[in-house]
């Protein structure tokens, strides 16, 4: 099951990468990056569910550390979601700013950082 989830995550990540590299519309690039974030989250959650915590593997016993880090992958995913949400808000603000200054949403035209 771990392998399947990781392969699903890899497929999603590569679809997102393809979209981010090949699309011209800046919002299409942004949502491709979102797909990549989701792929990473699937991998983190799968690791959290199926892989032993390092502290448990080292000792073979359920120490306090192992007990408190068994869901570390899921808490990383929470932070990824936070960063992704901030990225979308800022990214779309940049899209609006770009639309105002250049009247275009084509990433190939956005090669200058001024008007």
């Amino acid at each position: 099951m771990l392998e399947r989830l990781l392969i699903l995550s890899a497929i999603l990540f590569c679809i997102g990468l393809y979209g981010a590299l090949s699309r011209r519309h800046v919002i299409a690039v942004l949502i491709s990056v979102e797909i990549m974030f989701n792929a990473v989250n699937i991998a983190l959650v799968a690791f959290s569910r199926y892989v032993q915590p390092a502290a448990f593997r080292a000792t073979g016993e359920v120490t306090a550390v192992a007990e408190s880090t068994v869901l570390a992958g899921q808490s990383f995913a929470v932070f990824v979601i936070v960063v992704a949400a901030a990225e979308v808000a800022l990214g779309l603000a940049l899209v609006i700013a770009m639309l105002r200054t250049k009247d275009s949403v084509d990433v190939t035209e956005a090669s200058l950082m001024r008007r």
């Binding site: 519309h25 892989v51 068994v70 932070f79 901030a86």
Partner: protein, 170 residues
């Protein structure tokens, strides 16, 4: 795999997720891409629920399928030329090549790696964390990860202020 239900659910959700994502990167209609993105996000939420991440499944629906989707649809609709705005760059063959090379590298690494899997009959304290994940996750975020948790709040505040200052009329 535990049983036939999870088997069927996994394959259905995988097909929905990957199909939605493929639709997002292939369609030329930006509005349709944004709607397909929601389909893909809901599929990912289902996968989270399948691997004992109930809290993340709900957050995924609220933040991605809710907030992010609304923002993206809004942005797709105010940008001009919605139906033809999603043309490819000239780097299409290059993008396909890079993605396929990365995919094959990742898959071969995943298949060959020797994972230290959790045993099926987990020791009771570990198994308990997967019975009540939201509670265990909440305790974890406010104990081990309390500093990143606070910093995440500051990051969100900075993002909101940054977004507002970027779109402010001058």
């Amino acid at each position: 795999m535990e049983n036939a239900f999870t088997e069927v659910a996994f394959w259905t959700l995988s097909i929905v997720t990957v199909g939605g994502a493929l639709g997002v990167v292939r369609t030329h209609n930006m509005f349709r891409a944004a709607l397909l993105l929601v389909v893909s996000f809901v599929g990912v939420a289902g996968i989270f629920a399948l691997v004992n991440a109930e809290f993340l499944a709900v957050v995924q629906l609220l933040v991605y399928a809710g907030g992010v989707a609304v923002l993206v649809i809004f942005a797709a609709m105010i940008t001009t030329n919605v139906t033809e705005g999603n043309r490819s760059t000239g780097t299409q063959p290059f993008a396909v090549l890079v993605s396929l090379v990365l995919l094959s590298a990742l898959v071969s690494a995943i298949v060959q790696a020797e994972w230290a899997l959790l045993p099926d009959d987990m020791p009771a304290p570990l198994a308990a964390a997967f019975v009540d994940t939201p509670a265990a996750l909440g305790r974890m975020l406010l104990n081990e990860f309390v500093l990143p948790f606070e910093i995440a709040g500051v990051v969100l505040l900075a993002a909101v202020i940054g977004a507002l200052s970027l779109v402010r009329e001058r």
